[in-house]
Subunit: 218 residues, 2 copies
Amino acid sequence: MLSQTEENYLKALFHLTEEYADKPEAGTNELAAMLNVKPATANDMLKKLKEKKLIHYEKYGKISLTSLGKKQAIDIVRKHRLWETFLYEKLEFTWDEVHEVAEQLEHIHSPKLIEKLEKFLGYPLIDPHGDAIPNAKGELKLQARKTLSQIAVGKTCKLVAVRDNSATFLQYVVSVGLGLSSKIKVLNRQEFDGTMEIEVNGKKSSVSERFANNIFVA
Amino acid sequence: MLSQTEENYLKALFHLTEEYADKPEAGTNELAAMLNVKPATANDMLKKLKEKKLIHYEKYGKISLTSLGKKQAIDIVRKHRLWETFLYEKLEFTWDEVHEVAEQLEHIHSPKLIEKLEKFLGYPLIDPHGDAIPNAKGELKLQARKTLSQIAVGKTCKLVAVRDNSATFLQYVVSVGLGLSSKIKVLNRQEFDGTMEIEVNGKKSSVSERFANNIFVA
DNA sequence: TATATTTGTTAGACTAACCTAACTTTATAT
DNA sequence: ATATAAAGTTAGGTTAGTCTAACAAATATA
Ligand SMILES: [Mn+2]
Ligand SMILES: [Mn+2]
Ligand SMILES: [Mn+2]
Ligand SMILES: [Mn+2]
């Protein structure tokens, strides 16, 4: 059985190389950064994960998940998102509070628990952040998503998900009037730095390109 | 913040010395046995827990919880029993399945989670095994309980709780027709080894003294 | 009370997960 | 093509939690 730490490494690799991936392989440094450890620490773990046939990896080479590693990673993601949904739907947690607790709950080992939880929640398809919830077989539709930064001036779009799950970011999102399914009108974009003028429910705001890169729309 | 391991030691000490305690102090060996570690391991932890002012302990002396240690222990017990109740009431887990998963869930750190969970469950007072659930202040009524082995021949009593939470024991309990609130009539007792003849819902069974010691009745 | 048994402690070793400091390889920019 | 910078690795060390083997103290027994 995998340790919590090993599970966290697989999940991070999944996010870096599979889900919303710009590229299909990851590097030691970015992986370490995502997990808040030093590259030397990540390097130790890479050797162990390779030994367990969970990742493809050669010294000085790029990293990717094996099909076994991917299966494990998706299982953690599934648990994470089902727990987030539980906290949000049943326990009155807010958007920005669910992620942190789900980081702990995702490591509870009990197949029965997660099956029953899924049933209890009515087989939800997306979590409170708009992310797809993998089914029991590990199937997951990777929605092709545009970011707000890619929307042309004058167009209107709908918020379908957020990339960053941190409380800081989500509270900021809420403060400009946004939530899942919000309609966003793009009023203007500065060529210089990508800063955008947007309108949500009649309220106008100015957001940075970095902000817009973290909002997925359709 | 306490580690999961430290939490498990405090909980074990609580069970040994506070709840249903024959005696108010514990020894290294029985503590180690309860946690499935070697006495040498437990000894190391005792030094650490003493350092953190969670237990009273002197070399070669007996062990007991400080008020701080007791407070922490009760908090774990509270979480354990609320989670057991959740699994039983909301997720269709059976009597004998809840304990093992609750052993993991009890270590999730989030005061908000446990408050909301308690509310969601309707502020339950007892868990699926009949054990009292401490409230948010750490208050817990320690019911004075008799065991089935103490009931006189000819008398009838009601099962209010079980001492052993293991799946093996609970499945045995179910197999003789027993559950929470079952009426038990004591038909006979062998002087030699305490073996008892009992009747539950018209069904007669013979149970050992050890079995009867693990059934709490009123 | 002397001896045997039980209980508890210490010393030394191991693994997982982390670190820093030094080094090597690969990539980038003159 | 070289020099610098970035990325990645290695060596050696720490802490938590575990173990075995040897020892010491306390308790029970003859
Ligand atoms: Mn999340
Ligand atoms: Mn999410
Ligand atoms: Mn239990
Ligand atoms: Mn219980």
